[in-house]
Symmetry: C2
Subunit: 249 residues, 2 copies
């Protein structure tokens, strides 16, 4: 059941250590800087941050870290999608969430990660040495504030997801997933009826506390009823009102 993903950063991950004046341009050209926690920093502080930054790339379906690993680094996603999950001993899996560009990974950790992170697509991240990042956050009040905003926001999303997992029926869960995913993507790419779904049906099921069969049947029915349209690597939403109504009712 469990794919044996290569642990990275191994030979599959390309590392770009950040040294010298070149870095300023890397962050300056960063497409997620307005969404990411580093938006809290000014030009000089960004340079300071870049000194503890490695830019890394993951191919699809590669582990970034595993639950229980010592959390030596924290990350900001600059492109691609990752799956964050917790595994039970008997193979059951809960997908905690999906990380997309602008997301910070490592908010909820002690010294050890509480979940595993695997790339779904090609992924680019900024890796920060955790002690150094923590020191910077202690010095730069704006950064700490931004981290807290981020953690609070995530906490709100987590609480919403508890409602979905605890009290929603199967159809409502899938509708909630599509609509929330659409909202998140809209912040990055602008509103669009076509929705990329880099995760598979099993990932969606494990996110929603359902089986792959139930997710598949629900989507298939909506396709038959012209609520959504199957497009390569995603769906097109034809009747958003119907999805919203499913959630309200």
């Amino acid at each position: 059941m469990e794919a044996h993903l290569p642990t990275s950063p191994g030979p599959l991950a390309s590392l770009t250590p950040c040294g010298g004046g070149q870095c300023a341009s890397v962050c300056a050209e960063c497409r997620v800087k307005l969404y990411a926690v580093c938006a809290a920093l000014d030009r000089d502080e960004i340079n300071e941050l870049e000194r503890i930054t490695q830019h890394i790339t993951l191919p699809p379906k590669t582990a970034l870290f595993h639950a229980g690993d010592a959390a030596a680094s924290v990350y900001t996603v600059t492109s691609g999608t990752l799956r964050l999950q917790r595994d039970l001993a008997d193979g059951r899996r809960q997908v905690i969430g999906f990380a997309i560009p602008g997301d910070f990974i490592g908010l909820a950790m002690d010294d050890h990660f509480g979940f595993s992170a695997d790339s779904l697509t090609h992924v680019n991240l900024c890796r920060f040495d955790r002690p150094a990042f923590a020191r910077l956050a202690r010095e730069k009040h704006g950064l700490m504030g931004r981290l807290h905003d981020s953690a609070s926001h995530e906490l709100g999303l987590a609480q919403e997801h508890m409602v979905v997992l605890g009290r929603r029926r199967a159809e409502e869960r899938v509708a909630a997933f599509i609509l929330r995913w659409r909202e998140r993507m809209a912040r990055l790419t602008g509103a669009s009826a076509t929705l990329a779904l880099p995760m598979g049906r099993q990932d969606i099921a494990d996110h929603l506390g359902l089986t792959i069969e139930t997710v598949s049947r629900t989507l298939a029915r909506w396709m038959r009823e012209k609520v959504i349209l199957d497009v390569p690597d995603g769906i097109r939403i034809l009747d958003q009102a119907r999805l919203e109504q499913t959630l309200a009712g």
Copy 2:
């Protein structure tokens, strides 16, 4: 189904505005100061905090605020237990969590609360004016750091609860609830086999995504099997290993 709780702070809530030198002693004698976010502040800063603090008391079964209310205040619980919940239009309810002494309420809010808070027992809280508290957090780096630690910790707990709601069977959910609640109480009162349960069966059910019947049957079976013992207003844990084993298996 829904009890009509009086909105507070109305006539039922007693307000103790904090003015003059008396305040120092209030915080100085506070039994949760080591756990609460105010532990980040020194003596002078505590005095500053007390200037924006009201000490309030709620009788049992009273609303502190409702989901959607403008979040004019944030709170620290100093005694008692509150239930935090979200309600769906058709009466379904998800209990997000229970707030106990030392807990900060208002981490995950925008301008409006995303959940309702109701007292289960007599409750004492410190109420902070939100804009003033936010200003203080902006000025006092230690306070912001503590808030962030708190939010991160809560986020980790929320993610654990997602696993419970998404992938655990009924018996495992109840075992997880008892063990986690015991851990939280142990931080306050020290380890004890006797566990106070200020929330009702329905509250536990709505926290775990189950029905009251399933919770009741599970507890009844464990009582028959001498895993737990019924005591007034709580239970006594006779066989903790059995509960832990339920979670592992």
